[in-house]
Symmetry: C2
Subunit: 419 residues, 2 copies
C-alpha cells in the first residue's frame, strides 16, 4: 500500500443480543473448539434492554490488535480471542471504499491489525452472560469489516469458539445450537427455529440477585461436571435429546404449558448435575430458591402455568411470562416478596420496559408497600427486602444488526482509539 493511504481508518459498528438457554448447554466434548455434549435451545432477548455494541476498525497505522471492553483495555492474547480473529481473517475478502479511495485486498488482511471496542448496555457484574453477546458481536462486526461472505450459521461456528453460547446470539427469536458430529466442529452451529415475532406475547423479567458468593466460572464448572458427575452422561445422551424434540414442538405450537414444564425441568436438571459434581457447584442461592417457590406455587394455583423460570451459572432468575397480563401479575408478586431497600429508587429497581410497572398501577415505593399478599399464599407471607438488586423487563429480540449511524461508533473515526 502506498504511503498516502497510511492514515485511513475503516470502521464497522454492530449490535448483538444476549440469549437465555431454555434447554441448557453444560459440558464440552472438545475444550479447544468448544463442542457441546448436547444440543441446546435459547431465546434471544431484546437488544434494546440487553446487548453488546462493538466497533471494529482497521488501519495500516495500527501496529497491533487491541481491544477495549467497557472502556478498559483488555488482553487479546487468550486462545478464545485468537481463535475468533484467526478464523475470521482466514475468510476475509477484498474490501473497497471508492469514496475514500481505500482498497484492501484479501491477502492484505493477514498483515493488518484491528482495534475493537465493546460495550454492554447492562452491568457486567450482574452475571448476565455478557460473553455470549460479546463474542457474537466481535465475530459479526469483524466479519462485516472484512467482508466475509458467509451466512450467520457459518459465523456462529466461529463465535462458538469464543464462547459456546455466543453462537446462539447470531439469530433472533428461538435458536437451536446443534452439537454436531464432525471432529472439526464445522457442523456445530446455531440454527434459527422461529424469529422473534413468532411468539411475541412472551415477556421476560430478569431478577438480578444480590450475592456475596464467588461463583465457579462456567468453563471450569462444566469441565469438572463432565469429569466427575455420575449423572451428566445420562442427562446429555438420554434426557436432553428427548427434551429438544419436545421443546421445538412446544415453540412451534406456542404451547406455553409444555414450554414451562421443559424450561423449568431443564434448568433444575442443569443445577442438579452441578450439585452432582465433585466438589459440588452451587449457582443458585436461597433467594433463587425463594423465587422458584413463588413461581411454582402460583403456577400450581392456576389452571395453566403463568411463568417459566430458568437460571444460568449464577443466582439470577430469568422469568418468562406467557403474556403481559401474567408479567404484570408476576411483577406484583416479585415486588411483594422482594421490596427494594428503603434508599432504592423504584425507577432504578425496575428497569428495561417499565411499562409493565404501569400495567400494575405502581408508581412509587408506597404502592409497592401497599401490595397485598398473592392470593395463593395461605400462611402469613415472609418478605425478603434487599435480596434483589433490580429487575429488568424485556421481551424476545432480534439478531445482530449493523449500526450505520457513525455517531454511535465506539472508536474515533480518525485515530481508531476509544472515544
Amino acid at each position: 500500500m502506498a504511503e498516502e493511504f497510511q492514515k485511513w481508518v475503516l470502521m464497522v459498528t454492530a449490535q448483538t443480543p444476549t440469549n437465555i438457554a431454555v434447554i441448557k448447554y453444560w459440558g464440552k466434548r472438545d475444550e479447544n473448539l468448544i463442542l457441546a455434549i448436547n444440543d441446546s435451545i435459547s431465546l434471544t432477548l431484546d437488544p434494546t434492554h440487553l446487548c453488546t455494541t462493538t466497533t471494529v476498525a482497521v488501519s495500516p497505522a495500527f501496529n497491533q490488535d487491541r481491544m477495549w471492553l467497557n472502556g478498559k483495555e483488555i488482553s487479546l492474547s487468550g486462545g478464545r480471542y485468537q481463535n475468533c480473529l484467526r478464523e475470521i481473517r482466514a475468510r476475509a475478502s477484498d474490501v473497497e471504499d471508492k469514496n475514500r479511495g481505500i482498497k484492501i485486498a484479501k491477502k492484505d488482511w493477514e498483515n493488518l491489525h484491528v482495534h475493537i471496542a465493546s460495550y454492554n448496555n447492562f452491568p457486567t457484574a450482574a452475571g448476565l452472560a455478557s460473553s455470549a453477546a460479546g463474542f457474537a458481536c466481535l465475530v459479526y462486526s469483524l466479519a462485516k469489516l472484512m467482508n466475509v461472505q458467509e451466512d450467520n450459521g457459518k459465523l456462529s461456528a466461529i463465535a462458538r469458539q469464543g464462547s459456546g453460547s455466543a453462537c446462539r446470539s447470531l439469530y433472533g427469536g428461538f435458536v437451536k445450537w446443534v452439537m454436531g458430529k464432525e471432529e472439526n466442529g464445522s457442523d456445530s452451529i446455531a440454527v434459527p427455529l422461529v424469529d422473534e415475532k413468532h411468539w411475541d406475547e412472551l415477556v421476560i423479567i430478569i431478577s438480578v440477585v444480590c450475592s456475596r458468593q464467588k461463583e465457579t466460572s462456567s468453563t471450569s464448572g462444566m469441565r469438572e461436571t463432565v469429569e466427575t458427575s455420575a449423572l451428566i452422561e445420562h442427562r446429555a445422551k438420554e434426557v436432553v435429546p428427548k427434551r429438544i424434540i419436545q421443546m421445538e414442538e412446544a415453540i412451534q405450537k406456542r404451547d406455553f404449558a409444555t414450554f414451562t414444564r421443559l424450561t423449568c425441568a431443564d434448568s433444575n436438571q442443569f443445577h442438579a448435575v452441578c450439585l452432582d459434581t465433585s466438589p459440588p457447584i452451587f449457582y443458585m442461592n436461597d433467594t433463587s430458591h425463594r423465587i422458584i417457590s413463588c413461581v411454582e406455587k402460583w403456577n400450581r394455583s392456576e389452571a395453566t402455568p403463568q411463568v417459566a423460570y430458568t437460571f444460568d451459572a449464577g443466582p439470577n432468575a430469568v422469568l418468562i411470562a406467557r403474556n403481559r397480563t401474567s408479567a404484570a401479575l408476576l411483577l406484583q408478586r416479585l415486588l411483594f416478596y422482594f421490596p427494594p431497600n428503603s434508599e432504592t429508587d423504584l425507577n432504578s429497581y425496575v428497569i428495561g420496559d417499565k411499562s409493565i410497572l404501569k400495567d400494575v398501577g405502581i408508581q412509587d415505593i408506597k404502592d409497592v408497600e401497599a401490595l397485598p399478599p398473592p392470593p395463593e399464599i395461605k400462611d402469613p407471607a415472609q418478605k425478603y427486602k434487599g435480596e434483589i438488586s433490580y429487575f429488568i423487563c424485556t421481551r424476545p429480540g432480534r439478531g445482530p444488526v449493523l449500526i450505520t449511524d457513525e455517531s454511535q461508533s465506539l472508536l474515533h473515526a480518525e485515530t481508531g482509539l476509544p472515544k
Copy 2:
C-alpha cells in the same frame, strides 16, 4: 384372665440410636411396605448423645392402644404405627412373670392393649431424623414386651414399615439396608457390616442449621422424585450399586479417603435428584453450602481428606472427622465461620461430647472470637454469626439396648400412664 389380675401393668423400656446414611435411601418401590429402590448404608450414632427411649406397657386395664411422644399424646391411627403394631402382635409369644404371678398366653396379645411413651434426648425440631430412632425403639421394645422370638434382622423388617431408615437403627456401627427382591419385603432388612468398635476413631459433629424454610417431608419428597426425576432411575440402578460395593470395602479397610469421596458424592447426588424433581426440592440452604465449601477447601489443602459431610432431608450438616485431631481442627473452623450469637452460652452451643472443645483449648466466647482464620483461606474470611443453632459432638454408637433400671421408665408402674 381372672378379675384379680386386672390391675397389673407389665412394662419394658428400651433405648435406640439414630443413624445417618452415608449411601442414601431415596425412593420407594412399594409405598405401603416401604421398600427402597436401592440399598443404603448408615452409621449408627452414640445413643448417649442422640437416642430415643421408649417404654411400652401392657395391662388388662387398658382399653385402647395409646402413645405419648415427648410427653404429648399422639394418634396411633396412622398406617405406619398400625403396621408395626400388627406385625409385632402377630409374632408375640407366651409371657410369664412368676414373681408377680402374671401370665399372658400367645393368643391373649390380640385382645390386650398397650401404652407407649417415647422420648428423644435431642430437640425434635432439629430435623435429626427422630423417626428412625423412634420406630426402631417402638418395634424393639414391643418385641421384648411381647417376647417375640426373632432376631434384630427380622425386627428391622418390621421397623422398616414404620420408617424406612428405622430398620438401620436396629444395629450399632455401620449397617446396610438391603433393598431385597421379595414383593412382601421379607428380605428388605438391615444387616450389620461392622460394629461400633471397628472404626471408633471417627468423630461426628452435627451442625444444626437455623432455618426459616418449611421442608418437604421425606415421604412426599421421595415419591415426587420417583415420579418426576429423569435421573433417579439411573442413580438407583447404575450409580448406587457400585457405590455400595466400594463403600463396604472402604469401611472394612477403614479407608477414610475413599469413605469421604463416596459419602460426599452420595449426599450431593441425593440432593441433586431432589433438585431434579418437579417441583424441585431444596433441603440444603446457603448455610449448608458454606459448610460444604469450608470442608472442601480444607480437605483439598491437606494431603488426604480430614472430614466427610453428609446432609439428610434438611439443612443440617453431619460431619464425620477421621479422628479426634481432625475433629478438633474442624470444630475450630466451624466456630471461626459460625460464631454463636452474643447472647448464646458456649455450653449450649457445643453439646454432646464437649471434650473436643477442650482439645481445641476453647473455654468461652472470647476464645471463639480470638480464633485465627484457617490457613487454607487466602481472601479475608467472611463470618456467618447466628446461622447455626448449635453443634452436637458424638461418635459411632451401639444398637438398641433394654433399660432395666425401672426409675428410667417413662410410664408409671401402677397406672401405665406417663410419669
